[in-house]
Every structure is written in C-alpha cells, then in structure tokens.
Amino acid sequence: MPPRLIFEKASPGRRAHAQAPAPEAAPPVDLPAELIREQDARLPEVSELDVVRHYTRLSQLNFSIDTNSYPLGSCTMKYNPRACHRLASLPGFLDMHPAAPDSAAQGLLECLYELQEMLAQVTGMEAVSLAPMAGAQGEFAGVAMFNAYHRANEDYERDEIIVPDAAHGTNPATAAMCGLKVREIATGRDGDIELEALDAALGPRTAGIMLTNPSTLGVFERRILEISSRVHAAGGLLYYDGANLNALLGRVLPGDMGFDAMHLNLHKTFSTPHGGGGPGAGAVGVAASLKPFLPVPIVEKIDGAYRWKTEAPRSIGRLAANGGNIGVLLRAWAYLRMLGREGLRRVSDHAVLNANYLAFRLAEAGFDLAYPSRRAGHEFVISLKRLRDETGVSAADFAKAMLDEGFHAPTVYFPLLVPECLLIEPTETESPEALDTLIDAMARIRDQALSDPQAVISAPHRMPIRRPDEVLAARKPDLAYGPALES
C-alpha cells in the first residue's frame, strides 16, 4: 500500500509556521474584492516535520542511480557527481536574477562561455547555443534552422524530413512541430540504413535527415560519409541526434561525419541528473553555414568581458524565457572540466567496453543479440522473441522481473523494429563486478522463465506495488485528488 496522500495527512489550521511571513507583515490588501479569492487555496495543512517525513518516505519508494543500476538504453544513466551539484549550488550562482547586468554576472558568463567553447571542440561544430532546455528543444532548434537556411537561399520547396524507422519519437514529433512532413526510411538487416531507401526518399523536397549514430540499435552507421554526401548532393542538411554521443566522445566528432547541426543531451553524456524526468539541457551546435540562425541568447566575449548576445537578425529566435537551464549547464561545465581532455575518450572507451562485455556475456548465457555480427556501440539490443515463443514470458514481463532483482529495467519495445526487445546501456560508471551481477540476475530470470514462467509473468513481487492497471488509468483518468473528472 502506498503512503496516504499529503492531503490526507492534513489537519485544518496546521501550518509550517516558520515558512511564511508573520500576519503583521502581510496586512490585508486594498484591492477590488472581485480580484480576491474567497477561500485560501486548497493546499495541504501540515507541519514541517509532516512534510519532511512524507517526502522522505516517498523518495524511498524510488529507484535511482544512487541506489540502483540503470541499464536503460538510450538514456545514459551514469553517475551524477556530487561535486557538480555542490558547485552549481553556490550562492553566487543561485542568487543571480536573470535581469542582473552582465557586469554583475561575469563569473557565471565565463563558465557558460567556456562550456560553449568546449562543446564546440567536442563536437567539431563551429558554434554552440546553450539555450535549448532539453534534447527535444535542441532538435526543434536544429530543424527550425534547416527551414531558415533553405528560406534564406530562396529554396521554398523543401518540406520533408527523412527519419529512419529506428529513430527516437522526438525526431518525427519535432519535424511535425516545424511544419515538415516525415519520410520514414527502413533499416537494413545489418542495422545500417538502406541506401536505396535513402535515394528513393531524397529529392528537391528534402529539407534534411535526422540521424542518431550509433543508431538506437546500438550499431555505428558505417556508411555515414556516403550518406552525408548523398544528402548534401540533394541539397539537404544533416541533423545529429546527440543522444548516443557517449559512444564516441573524444574519438569521433559529429562535425567530421558531415553533420550540419546537432544537439547534446547534457543530462546524458555530460552527467547532469535526470531528476525524475528533468530538467535536462539540449545545447545545439552547428556548422558555419547555420551559425547565423542559432537560437539566442548566446554568450559572447568582447575585449575580455563576457555578455549575453540577445539579438541576431537571422536567428530562429528565443526558445526560453531566459538563457536556458543555466543550473544544468553549470553542472555540465564542472563535469567537463573534471574530465578534461584526457578524460573524454576514457568515457567512450569504457562505455563501449562495458556494452560489448555485457553483450558477449549475455549471448554466452543464451540471450539472442539482435545484431550478433555487429560490434556494440555503448548499447545493444537483445530480442526475447524466442523466449516468449517458448514460455509466454514477454520483454515487459522480463523487465518487471529485473526490478525484483534490484535493477532498473532496460528500455523495452524500443526500437520498434526488433520484436520483444530490450535496449541495454550499462554506461562507463558501472564496474565489471556490477555487470557480472546484472548478467547473473538476467540468467536467473531466464532460468525461471523456462522452469516457472508464471512467476515471471506475474512479476514484480518485491516492489512497493504490483503492476499498475494502465488501462483503467487511461480510461478513467484520476489526475487530481478530489472530485472525479468527466472528460
């Protein structure tokens, strides 16, 4: 049973008295009565200790990187260093109002400028804007810049974007927000894009292509240079979805592969926390041809002083009320400075070593790799189709059983083209011993599926709840405590 809701723990008139101004500091207001609410807002009436206990208890019902391993493909759930949190929380950073003059924010602006420069180096891009607040906003910025670029060239017919079938859902959703039609192309049996399908999709209506490399199948697109030359020859541009940059960090630069624009998920590759769903940061980098279109603001350095550049005549414009998720950017800055030049490649080296080791050992243990002939990047796909056919245990069942073993489930049923798939990404911060524990747990679940499938199909057994009824949740939405909704 879950804890009662905070509202159910309330007593009328109880408050955390230290937290609000005293009544004498808050005199009744002299405003027209029709503006004023008749009753105080229905917020919980609880003490400070009630609040601390309730939310501490709730926190204990979560898995987190600090408590559990997350082999969660495409999400790069690596350790979030405490130093980055501590340093980004220094009062000199936290207490800064966004309207403070640049002269009073030189320390902050220097960090952000340095981050822009380091990210440009790390990606092989000409320039970087830190404004996008998540990967999806970085994608939006990239595709909006493609549109702006084509318009600037008086090329008005380009209304299609090519997206491989294995792409993240944000790619087609972003293209639609930018007013483009999505042309999906198939992945070949070896995990690479089919060039014939690409050629068939390319044409005078091609605005560009959105690619993840290594792809969400965990394999490197080997003909990327051929792809980029064909797309460019057709007048299109290439967008790099940086979700999988952890596989290449310090070794392969998206700019060298021919990409014109990209985003970085700082909450993946650069270790800022996921926070239960965010905030992230989706800094966007571009080749020289797209630089005039970058979203504002951007930090500039002029005569040794730093300033926000808030206007640029050809910019796609603003994406955020202010300069983006600055606290997240500071954490990424601290992480990159700690890694340093020599640490970049250690990240991808050990991320890829861990993934290949895990893939190899799981194959040894009887799991089916989706692409057995390919080297894994930083993640890989296994298919449980054979297990499901033999035992009735699905990928979802298997994932739930992993929770009972103390591991967060891998990404399930994505990418969509591999049946009963698990997408597994160990990251570089898991030790070989932790990987061995994971392999043992997965082998144990597989053995149980073969001997007692019902035990796996009914998992989890040791979590705070059993499986939630998602059909009921969607059919009769209960989204707020109180009166039932009619929708």
Binding site: V51, T67, M133, G277, N325, P468
Partner: protein, 461 residues
C-alpha cells in the same frame, strides 16, 4: 580515473574475453578516417579541489545585487527543507517514471503536484510540467488551436501585456506550424485596446491570451476578456503567477479554458534564469490535447492504490509525428521542489507571501514616486510589480544603481516604447522597509544628479 571504476587488470580481462587486443579494436567498425588521432582540445582535467577553487572564484565574481527586479523571476524565501529533500539522491538521480513500480515516490509526488496546481488555478487537471513559463505559454497556444478546430482559425490574439519573452518564444515555436500571433495593444490607461480586433477582417481567432497579473503587474478586466473570447468563439488562455494565486481569485472561477504560468516562484532559485518550471492546467474536456507527461492514480494487480504515467498516447514516444508536442524530458526535479514548497506553506502561508509581496511593493512604489522625475505609468491596482516612468533614459539610472549594489528593476523601454522611459519594479516579501528606503534614497540621489555611474564616468573620460 574520475568516475570510472575499472582497474587495469579488469580491463585486460574483459578484452581477453572479447578476443580483442585493445579498446581501439572495439571501434573497428568506425571508418579510420573518422577516428581522431588525438582528443579535442579542451583544458586538462581537474580534481574536485581544483574545480572547486575555480567555481568558487567565479561564483565570487558574480555580484548578487539587492533585488527589486521581477519580470518573470522573483526572489522569495525558500524553506530549507525544500532543497534538502529535493536533493536526496532518490529524487535527484532517478529516471522518468516509465517503470511505475520503481518510481512510486515520484509518481505520487507528481499526482500531489497536479492536485496542488489544479487547486491553485481552479482548473480540473494539470500536467507534470513543461520547461518554463514561456514554453508553457507557447504550448498553451498550440493546444488551444487543437482544441478549437471548429473555429477554423490559425490565429491567436495575445495581449501586449503578456511577458515579451513569452510572446517571443511563442513566435519561435508557432511559426513552423503556420500559426499567427496578433497583438492586442495597450490603451493610455494600460488596459487592453480591443479596437484592432473590432476592425479585424481575418478568419477569427482560435484563442485569446492574457496574463493575470500581467507582465506590468496589473490586473486585466477578466469579465471583458471572457466576454471577448465568447464573442470570438475563442478559447481563453490565461498566464498566471502561482504566488499571486495565493490571494487572487483563480482563473478557473472566471472562465479560463487553459492556464499556463512560470512556476519559479514556488521554491526555485533564480539561478540566472533557469532551470524553472512551466505550469499548465486546463478544463477536463481539453485533457486529451494537453502536451507533456501526466501522472494518474489507479490500482495495481492486487487491487491496491498505485500511480502511473497515463494518457501516453498523446506523447511523442507513442504517437511520434502526430503527438501533441515533441516534449520528452520535462522539469521533474523542479516539480519536486515546488511540491515541497507548496506543502510547507499551505494555502494560508502562500496567501501571506502574496499579501506581503503586495504590501512591500505598495511601499516601494510610494517611496519611488515621491522622487522628482519618477511617476507611475498609470494609476491602476497592481500585485507585486508596477511600471514607472522616468524623466530620463532608464539604462544609465540602472547602471548607477548597480554601482550601489542595487538591481533597480527591469528596463522595459525597448519592449514598450509607448511608455517612454519605463522601469518595471518589484518588491517581494524578502525586501525590508530599510532596503526599500535604501533604494529610494539611492534613486533620489541619482535623479538629482549627485551620483554618476562609474561606467558613465569612464565613458565621459
């Protein structure tokens, strides 16, 4: 090696099992021409002590000023418990709660957050956050167009008193879908001038958008706005400040269809501008067009109460190019902080914060407008911000105040040229009577010409 646990013998053992001679072998499928011989040129790595020294020096080179600025970011007291609890690893380092069984804490918290935001705004449902107030406004506009297909219009009429950055972000995000924002200007008293709509011969409006309180601190005539929306058969989108809603009538009571807002005042540090928290709430009938994640209460297979993300068929990972938005990552940790903040204050506490903000701003405006050359843009009620007009350009005055460690407000002269030399000032519950007096005497000195900004002096030299 920072953050990498492998010992060298372990690496060798793993490579041996993979039948590889070196880690380089694992990258063999990548064309050699793409593999850089040396890593990119960034500075050498630092230990924790080393990065700490640099970060502290730079944080020290920022000069937080005595804050009389608002304009979408506000200095409020944040109870110590808010970030003590929000920074627990189980909140800080957990993932999006797609695996409900491993995230009941965050899911129940999100359900409580949605309840609090729905209660505060007077709406039926709220989502689990968008990035910030500006993107929440843009998504509210996009959502309104989807909800009002019968209007056949691709246009939204927006009050000029909506935050300029919100309007700018909406412009960026709506352009791609061919949607148009039409501005409703200010009349001489700071009220909406619906004249341009009366004269408009376009195809109507899918939505009308206003903020209450607005960017200039004032209150729109909400009945006039609701009537106008009805007349246009448009949805009414309302931008809010959640602290103001501690004392103001919630927009759900006066007819808002979709409410959006900046959640930063709910326990989130100003942090130079982000990360903040985008609020979005709506009437139940528009739920299926709402973007972003939503947590719902249901039961588990044993019949016990359980929480899960729901209505995911609206979202990009299911619906792809037909999703309500491309948003994936949201502002989960900020939701955690805001929930703690609202629970600690309660309804009465939040009202007192709002009332104290209002009282301090009344004192501030009285003190500043007593100075020669400073007057109010218009005489109308305000919440905790007011537009002042100066008899000279605002920028040098703000620079001179900054020299005295005072952030005197936001210069809005460029955004609102119709107001002339205009300054937006704010006092939250954090400002004391003596701080307000200090601001007034500093400004008085500057207006009498006693103090010249050091920058002006340098410029003159």
């Amino acid at each position: 090696m920072p953050f990498i646990p492998h010992t060298e013998p372990q690496v060798q053992d793993m490579l041996r099992r993979l039948d590889a001679d070196s880690i380089d072998d694992l990258f063999g499928e990548i064309p050699a021409s793409l593999q850089r011989p040396a890593p990119p040129e960034i500075p050498a790595g630092l230990g924790e002590a080393g990065i700490g020294r640099i970060a502290k020096a730079r944080a020290g080179r920022n000069h937080p000023l005595l804050c009389f600025a608002g304009g979408g970011a506000y200095e409020h007291h944040i109870p110590a418990a808010v970030w003590d609890i929000a920074s627990r690893g189980e909140f800080y380092s957990n993932y999006t709660p797609y695996q409900a069984e491993a995230a009941q804490g965050s899911l129940q918290l999100t359900y409580e957050y949605q309840t609090m935001i729905a209660g505060l705004t007077g709406m039926d449902v709220a989502n689990a956050s968008l990035y910030d107030g500006a993107t929440a406004f843009a998504e509210a506009c996009l959502m309104a167009v989807r909800c009002n297909k019968q209007s056949g219009s691709r246009r939204i009429a927006v009050a000029r008193t909506v935050h300029p950055a919100w309007r700018a972000v909406a412009g960026t995000l709506l352009r791609g879908q061919g949607l148009e924002l039409v501005e409703i200007p200010l009349d001489a008293r700071g009220k909406a001038d619906f004249g341009p709509l009366d004269r408009d011969s376009g195809d109507g409006f899918a939505a009308i958008a206003v903020a209450a309180p607005n960017y200039l601190g004032g209150f729109p005539d909400v009945k006039a706005w609701r009537d106008r929306a009805d007349q246009e058969q448009a949805l009414l989108v309302v931008g809010v400040n959640p602290v103001a809603l501690g004392m103001l009538r919630p927009p759900g009571e006066w007819g808002a269809d979709i409410v959006c807002g900046e959640g930063q005042p709910l326990g989130i540090p100003m942090s130079g501008g982000g990360p903040y928290l985008g609020l979005l709430a709506c009437k139940a009938r528009y739920l299926r067009q709402m973007p972003g994640r939503v947590a719902g209460r249901t039961v588990d297979s044993a019949g016990h109460t359980a929480y899960a993300l729901t209505l995911q068929a609206r979202e990009q990972h299911i619906r792809r190019s037909r999703a309500t938005s491309n948003i994936c990552t949201n502002q989960g940790l900020m939701v955690t902080a805001a929930t703690l903040h609202m629970a600690l204050l309660g309804g009465e506490g939040l009202r007192r914060v709002a009332e104290a903000c209002h009282a301090r701003t009344v004192e501030l405006v009285d003190a500043l407008t007593a100075i020669d050359g400073v007057r109010r843009a218009w005489d109308a009620p305000f919440f905790h911000e007011a537009a002042l007009c100066l008899d000279r350009p605002v920028a040098p005055v703000l620079a001179a105040l900054a020299d005295q460690r005072i952030l005197g407000g936001v210069d809005i002269s460029a955004e609102y040229p119709e107001l002339g030399n205009a300054l937006l000032v704010c006092a939250t519950e954090m400002r004391t009577a003596s701080e307000i007096q200090a601001y007034a005497s500093a400004l008085s000195g500057i207006m009498r010409g006693h103090t010249v900004s050091s920058r002006q002096a340098r410029h003159a030299a």
